[in-house]
């Protein structure tokens, strides 16, 4: 909400980008330009002419498990995770890339899954809140969120934690000011920001050690 500065987008990252990463970042580029195979492009076109049975086959790895998915080319990654794969940790808060509640990782980078067409995960690895720690364990960031009460209603929390882990991995958690800036793509309407910053400060060195 900085008046003078753009929000650090959930998808800002440095270095060389592959084409898929650019696509993951932009989210809204024309679908045909990003489809991995000609066959997929054709079924996509079929979909646009009104045959909604037309699906696109996508091979992806979700939380470490290889998946073979038949996808509606119109569907966002968020809706596919939630409605098709029963991974409801990622939340819908806006569906417009504005709130960060749907943040997941694609190939280790944070993206807003509501603006990511699901078909674009072909050949990529997707990690959601359900996949960051083994069943009976917590990721250091999850533990830190508990310890600093970095949540209230909990609705933004999975997205905050996914963004926070990426924030540390990007090297953007070296000061409070930096954390605040690089976590500003994730809105917490309950206003748990003080706890979120404290949790990330606490978890960052633990993540680096791990």
């Amino acid at each position: 909400m900085e008046d003078q500065q753009p929000r650090p987008p959930a998808h800002r990252f440095g270095g060389e980008l592959t084409r898929r990463e650019v696509v993951a970042a932009a989210g809204a580029v024309p679908l045909a330009a990003m489809l991995p195979t000609a066959a997929a492009a054709q079924s996509h076109l079929a979909g646009r002419t009104g045959h909604n049975e037309a699906t696109v086959t996508v091979r992806t790895v979700i939380n470490g498990t290889p998946r073979h998915l038949e996808l509606d080319p119109r569907a966002s990654l968020l809706d596919v995770l939630r409605e098709q794969l029963a991974l409801t940790g990622a939340k819908k808060g806006c569906d417009h890339g504005q709130c960060g509640a749907c943040t997941v990782h694609i190939d280790g980078r944070r993206v807003v899954s509501c603006l990511t067409p699901a078909v674009q995960t072909d050949g990529a690895e997707v990690t959601t809140i359900e996949g960051i720690a083994p069943d009976d364990q917590l990721h250091p960031m999850q533990q830190a969120f508990i310890d600093h009460d970095a949540l209230q209603c909990g609705y933004c929390t999975p997205g905050q934690i996914m963004a926070a882990i990426a924030c540390v991995q990007e090297g953007h958690a070296t000061s409070r000011e930096q954390i605040r800036e690089y976590m500003s793509g994730n809105i917490c309407r309950c206003g748990a920001y003080v706890g979120i910053v404290a949790a990330i400060e606490d978890a960052a060195p633990k993540m680096r050690r791990a």
């Binding site: 909604n52 409605e83 533990q143």
Partner: protein, 739 residues
């Protein structure tokens, strides 16, 4: 008893929340479920002349399209929450061709997939007869209603009067007379309104985040011709409410009817733009506040006159003067509230609905008065502290505002403040301002029925009417039951937000804790008594589960009913029928408020004139703090809300076409992480045993009250500019030379 402070335990549901395992309404996807989407009106007011759904029906995967032509006899209005009903709007859309506000639903589409439903909804075409609209407070065509002369119930909505304020003000040696405006705002919890409607053997089951499961249940029963027993609401978690989810929403019956027609579960997640136009919002308001003092600095008169936005179809009553009239020892007070009917959905409650706005007016005037008198703003407030309620002359059940102010001043370092505006600057030219303001919020109580079950495995299940929306009520319930029974808080489970057992009364108005926690505490007392009656010898020192085992009982249940002092017994009938039943701030013997003092530093950057809030200190008197960790978070969250209200949030209306222009969470600007600095929290933590045995008042709303005026006062201190219109933005602190 409540003598000892409660320990700083972790939030009991945090473990589920950080794993994404807590289940919110729209997380449910039962087998065979279909998806719904809405088409909405593109005019500000008028009538549907014709509606064409053929293109929508032709989209592959579409199963059903419903319009007003289908639903007129299938859905009845549920009535307005503030007029004896259950809904956020007394006007139920889609049962008649009339359009009362822009964005009102005109069709619901049900399809196999969400993309198909969205695509089809966009293809619904309607032609309208358009009528003129008035959506702004000062627009031509609005209608002004004097609240005290309206049909609204009295004495609740009578003018608040003590002494002769007009005469005393006219004679006051020092006068402040100022006009304030505050904008429409939207609550914007991050959880969208999302509902999953299912029918099982004639019973309707709704999964939807709410603050008021009982009103949803009874409202839907009324709308669909069912008995309340045929409706079940499931809302164990609510992803933020802030007043928006305080009643039955207009979308829910649409999803319910659609599910019945297709004989499948239906999920409807309402896009944020539609929520902006069909759920409630904080009304725009305009205030004239007059404050008079004698030369010594004793406040002798205050007059608070308000105009507040309402809707054409439902009157949203206001209580701005309930805050300002009871705040300080001012013997002469007059409040007068007017409601201005506009062409919008009904406005409603948003965190600290009247109190935040009222405190902005009064606390700004107090600061102005302090400068007019040449007195320190903290000292002026302390000098006018009240020892009894100035309106009713009854005592306060407890009041530690002075201690909030003095402790807050010490924590903040207030004694280093230089009084003169513009006197504190950083070396780079940044203007620094320190401001203070106080806040209050009624300490209300609702009736409750609490059932406590203990198992021989040592688990305790507390079932009571309250909703978890982030305030930490599960943790508070666990703490209080655990302390009484002498077991670990993790062993206590709260069954809340689900209808069927104890009535799930509206959780709002900061009465949740003061309602549910004393009830749970009494249930625990009853449990101890029941355990004693098991007749085990050497009961002392033995765990409840051991006593149960020894008595050969797998479990034991108790139930208690609790009402506020002064509530008649009939209140339990009202409670059972899902109607709001809370009492306060006035009780038979006393008047009850929570209090807070906020100290704020603002910094205004020299080049950009950007206003930053690097540091806030807030000290609260909310009675006993039952869950210190979640309470601290709640204070910090309330301060974030105050910063948003002071510097950012406004719902912009379109005077020509109606509706809200910035109807999303990027254009409606809320605070993000980078806007928030240090927020230091202090609690007085003195129990209020007159109000209830645990000694709790309320917290979730008072925390926001006074933040905005503290910021405005700090901006005055930084710049010498007295700003009375919210939100305050860069353009308001520009100097001539900056342009």
């Amino acid at each position: 008893m409540s003598a000892a402070p409660f320990p700083n335990t972790a939030r009991v549901d945090a473990f589920d929340k950080v794993r994404g395992a807590a289940r919110y309404g729209a997380d449910r996807s039962p087998p065979g479920m279909l998806h719904a989407a809405l088409a909405t009106a593109t005019i500000g007011k008028g009538r549907i002349e014709s509606i064409d759904t053929s293109a929508a029906r032709a989209v592959p995967g579409v199963r059903l399209v419903l319009t007003h032509e289908d639903l007129a006899s299938e859905i009845k209005p549920a009535g307005y929450l503030m007029a004896g009903g259950y809904a956020s709007n007394g006007l139920q859309p889609m049962i008649a061709p009339e359009i009362a506000w822009r964005g009102q639903p005109i069709a619901i589409v049900v399809a196999d997939t969400l993309p198909a439903a969205i695509e089809a909804a966009a293809l619904v075409r309607a032609s309208f007869a358009v009528e003129p609209i008035a959506v702004e407070l000062s627009a031509e065509g609005t209608q002004t209603v004097v609240q005290s002369e309206s049909q609204l119930p009295k004495p609740m909505y009578e003018d608040i009067v003590a002494g002769d304020a007009d005469k005393a003000f006219a004679e006051a040696a020092v006068q402040v007379d100022a006009v304030f405006t505050t904008p429409a705002q939207h609550q914007n919890p991050i959880e969208l309104v999302g509902t999953v409607a299912e029918w099982k053997d004639g019973t309707l089951i709704i999964h939807e985040g709410t603050q008021n499961a009982e009103a949803m249940r009874h409202g839907l029963a009324r709308q669909l011709g069912l008995t309340p027993e045929q409706v079940q609401i499931v809302s164990p978690y609510c992803g933020g409410g802030f007043g928006q989810k305080n009643s039955l929403q207009i979308y829910t019956p649409l999803a319910a009817v659609a599910a019945r027609r297709v004989d499948r579960p239906v999920k409807l997640v309402v896009p944020r733009a539609a929520v902006f136009h069909n759920s409630s919002f904080r009304p725009a308001s305009r205030h004239r506040f007059r404050l008079g003092a004698d030369k010594s600095g004793k406040l002798i008169a205050a007059i608070h006159e308000t105009d507040s936005q309402s809707s054409r179809h439902d009157l949203f009553p206001t209580l701005y003067a309930e805050t300002t009239g009871h705040m300080y020892a001012i013997d002469n007070f007059r409040g007068r509230e007017r409601l201005v009917r506009t062409d919008t959905q009904a406005p409603g409650y948003m965190r600290a609905p009247f109190e935040h706005v009222a405190a902005f007016t009064m606390e700004s005037c107090i600061d102005e008065m302090a400068y007019a008198l040449g007195k320190d703003p903290v000292a002026l407030r302390l000098a006018n502290d009240a020892y009894a309620d100035p309106i009713s002359k009854k005592p306060f059940s407890s009041r530690h505002l002075a201690e909030c102010l003095t402790r807050g001043a010490a924590m903040f370092g207030w004694d280093k403040r230089q009084m003169a505006p513009g006197s504190m600057r950083a070396p780079d030219g940044t203007q620094i301002g320190w401001g203070v303001a106080a806040g209050s919020y009624k300490a209300a109580t609702a009736p409750a029925i609490a059932r406590l079950t203990l198992t021989d495995q040592g688990r305790a299940i507390i079932n009571v009417g309250v909703h978890e929306m982030g305030q930490g009520i599960r943790t508070a319930l666990s703490n209080v039951v655990a302390a009484k029974l002498g077991i670990a808080p993790e062993l206590v489970e709260a069954e809340i937000g689900v209808t069927g057992a104890s009535p799930q009364h509206l959780t709002a108005g900061s009465w949740g804790t003061a309602t549910a926690v004393p009830a749970a505490s009494e249930a625990a007392d009853a449990m101890l008594k029941a355990l004693a009656e098991l007749g085990q010898s050497d009961a002392a020192g033995r765990k409840p589960a051991e006593l149960l085992k020894a008595a050969g009982r797998p479990s034991l249940s108790v139930e208690i009913r609790r009402k506020a002092p002064g509530h008649p017994d009939q209140i339990f009938g009202r409670l059972a029928s899902g109607l709001p039943s809370a009492m306060g701030p006035a009780y038979p013997e006393y008047v009850s408020f929570s209090y807070i003092a906020h100290f704020v530093e603002v910094r205004i950057e020299p080049g950009t004139r950007r206003i930053r809030v690097p540091r806030v200190v807030s000290v609260v008197d909310c009675g006993r703090v039952v869950s210190p960790r979640t309470a601290t978070s709640q204070v910090q969250g309330g301060v974030v809300w105050g910063i948003g209200a002071a510097l950012r949030e406004a719902s912009e209306v379109d005077p020509r076409f109606g509706g809200f222009l910035n109807a999303d969470i990027a254009e409606y600007v809320v605070p993000v992480n980078a806007d928030i600095g240090s927020i230091e929290v202090g609690f007085i933590d003195k129990p209020d045993p007159r109000l209830n045995e645990v000694g709790v008042k309320g917290l979730g709303e008072v925390v926001m009250v006074g933040v905005a005026p503290a910021i405005a006062n700090a901006i005055f201190h930084a710049t010498g500019k007295r700003l009375r219109d919210l939100p305050i933005r860069i353009e308001h602190v520009l100097d001539k030379g900056d342009l």
